[in-house]
């Protein structure tokens, strides 16, 4: 960890950057390690020799297809949605001053799920001509945008119902919890009434899964990852200040309404775009910020950077675990996250000073 010098940025910029070199190198090495594991392990075992051959262009056909078309994009996508959920959770926890907030608990994921389920069902009604595999591939391409529309609508409702400009963090989280309950009930209701034709696909999607995701999904998601990360650079100082009481935030000159709304929008877009691609994966958004605050207790800026690293690595590992734990079957990454995330979260709570 960088020393206390970075806390205030009192060092010149290159010094504070040089503090980051170590951690960033460590992160890249871990990332590379996870990537190599992800492309080697799985239902069809590849040997290290085959992987090495792949890079020296001596391997083709099956191995090339498995690595380039299936495992690599999937691992990269896992890292990206990990970043999305972790940052969204971090922003929402800071914004609501509540360590339990995340996109799932606030109803943003539920809003995204609701429109996505409607879209899957709607498509099965109107495009019944296509064979089911092609059809689901096609829908997966459109889901991110539709899910984002749902997530943004849900966030808008939460913002409006909790008093818009007169919003308080507590009211925001209570409204979110209520809306999440209603939306999740609606999802279940729709599924029970009209879900028969697509139950399998919807249930898998709702569990949160990276199965069958490829470059196409990566292409849909990366602009949102990039704009989300850029927005986070702007957000770091306001997020620092939003931890204070409203009256203090205002009296040190931050436009509270504007930045609170902006932070909510950024968190919503990050979470909802990820939900659209891989389904509502819970607990990442809840647990990762806690890990990062544990790793760097004092500095919001470092905590955000850590969220990017820890979110990416953990999601990639969770997906890898889901793929190798009961070969040849696959445990959805959402299930793995819940199974690791919940006990770990309880452990963190018990160790809370």
């Amino acid at each position: 960890m960088p020393g206390p010098g970075i806390v205030l940025n009192e060092a010149p910029w290159y010094r504070s950057l040089s503090c980051l070199v170590g951690p960033v190198l460590l992160f890249l090495m871990l990332l590379l390690g996870c990537l190599l594991l992800s492309i080697t392990l799985g239902a069809s075992e590849l040997s290290w020799q085959q992987i090495v051959n792949l890079f020296t262009a001596q391997e083709s056909g099956h191995v090339e297809r498995v690595v380039w078309q299936l495992r690599l994009p999937r691992a990269l996508l896992a890292a990206m949605v990990g970043i999305h959920f972790a940052l969204a959770g971090f922003i929402l926890q800071t914004l609501t001053r509540n360590p339990l907030a995340d996109a799932g608990i606030l109803g943003i994921s539920a809003g995204a799920s609701f429109t996505a389920v409607l879209a899957i069902l709607g498509a099965s009604l109107f495009v019944s001509g296509l064979e089911s595999h092609r059809q689901s591939q096609m829908i997966l391409g459109y889901l991110p945008l539709l899910a984002m529309a749902g997530g943004v609508t849900a966030a808008g409702l939460i913002y409006w119902l909790s008093g818009a400009a007169r919003l308080t963090p507590l009211r925001l989280i209570l409204t979110g919890v209520v809306l999440a309950t209603i939306l999740n009930a609606l999802v279940t209701g729709v599924l029970a009434l009209w879900g028969h034709s697509q139950t399998e696909m919807i249930v898998e999607w709702l569990a949160g899964s990276l199965h069958g995701r490829d470059w196409q999904h990566l292409a849909v998601l990366w602009p949102w990852t990039l704009s989300g990360l850029t927005a986070c650079i702007l957000l770091q100082r306001p997020l620092n200040l939003l931890r204070l009481e409203d009256d203090q935030v205002l009296s040190i000159g931050l436009n509270l309404r504007l930045w609170r709304l902006f932070a909510l929008i950024v968190a919503t877009l990050l979470a909802a775009s990820a939900v659209g691609v891989v389904g509502p994966i819970g607990f990442m958004g809840l647990v990762v910020p806690h890990i990062c605050r544990r790793l760097s207790p004092h500095d919001v800026q470092q905590q955000m950077l850590l969220c990017v690293a820890v979110g990416a690595l953990l999601m990639m590992l969770a997906d890898l675990l889901g793929r190798i734990i009961i070969v040849p079957y696959e445990l959805p990454v959402g299930v793995v996250c819940a199974m690791i995330g919940v006990p770990f979260f309880l452990y963190l709570l018990r160790r809370q000073p």
Partner: protein, 272 residues
């Protein structure tokens, strides 16, 4: 920097807390707001700081109504310390005091040499420099209050508003805070407006006193003009003796509540 309220009515939702209040804050002086709990002292301070907009009337700073000031420009002129703020998890003393420099730094610029010097100065003045790298939550109530005051003075605004800055502090720490404020007032010409519960402290440390009751202005003027037995019995329902001290400031000695006095008079009558 002149700060004036013009016929303001303030409140929350349906309840009116302050009604038709006009007051001019004396520049480069220390003003004490006194009055019973719930009389609108905090609400008036929030109005003066532009944190709560009046429902009617307006608050004017330097001939310009508060809503036409940008938040950042206002923060350079007016700093406000609310009552008993809660420190964020894990925040260090130095970080919180540095937040007071936000109006000078904006979103992306990091702390300048001047910012760092002001932060050091603010921590020294409030006697917390040796806690600089400790988490605020690990400090005692009195120390935390000094951190908040350091953050407020690091803002280097010309007007400092404080809502009960001495509440929750022991006697010695109360006096330390008040002496610090009067030093800053003398040395830097800082305008201070604070609500206080201790009338003798209000009399001792302020140049000007504003007495409020049920959202109305009851009296304003120098401590001698305002703090009188008549006012104390009217506003606080307390029977008190007010004696002048050597330095000319009044000193109050409470003798009991007005209702107890009434009861005593009533029972005397019965006996007779």
């Amino acid at each position: 920097m002149s700060l004036v309220t013009q016929h303001i009515q303030m409140g929350y939702a349906d309840s009116i807390v302050i009604d038709d209040l006009s007051v001019k804050i004396p520049q480069q002086q220390i003003t004490a707001l006194i009055g019973p709990n719930g009389c609108g002292k905090s609400t008036l301070l929030r109005g003066l700081a532009g944190l709560l907009a009046p429902q009617r009337g307006q608050v004017v700073l330097q001939n310009k109504a508060l809503p036409s000031w940008s938040r950042q420009a206002l923060a350079l002129q007016v700093a406000m310390l609310p009552q008993k703020p809660v420190a964020p998890d894990g925040a260090l003393v130095r970080q919180l005091v540095n937040y007071g420099r936000f109006p000078y730094q904006g979103l992306l610029r990091s702390a300048s040499r001047e910012d760092l010097e002001v932060v050091e100065w603010a921590m020294k003045r409030t006697g917390i420099a040796h806690y600089a790298d400790k988490p605020v939550q690990a400090l005692s109530g009195g120390e935390q209050q000094r951190v908040w005051i350091a953050m407020a003075i690091a803002q280097q605004a010309q007007i400092l508003l404080l809502d009960e800055p001495t509440t929750y502090l022991d006697w010695g720490h109360q006096l330390e805070i008040l002496e610090l404020l009067s030093q800053l007032n003398r040395e830097q010409g800082l305008t201070v407006v604070m609500s206080l519960h201790d009338l003798n402290q209000a009399a001792q440390y302020s140049d000007y006193v504003i007495a409020m009751e049920q959202g109305q202005l009851i009296a304003q003027g120098t401590p001698v003009q305002v703090i009188t037995p008549q006012l104390l019995s009217r506003v606080f329902k307390v029977r008190a003796q007010v004696v002048p001290q050597d330095n000319g400031k009044p000193y109050c000695i409470a003798q009991g509540t007005v209702s107890a006095a009434d009861l005593a008079v009533a029972s005397e009558k019965e006996v007779a």
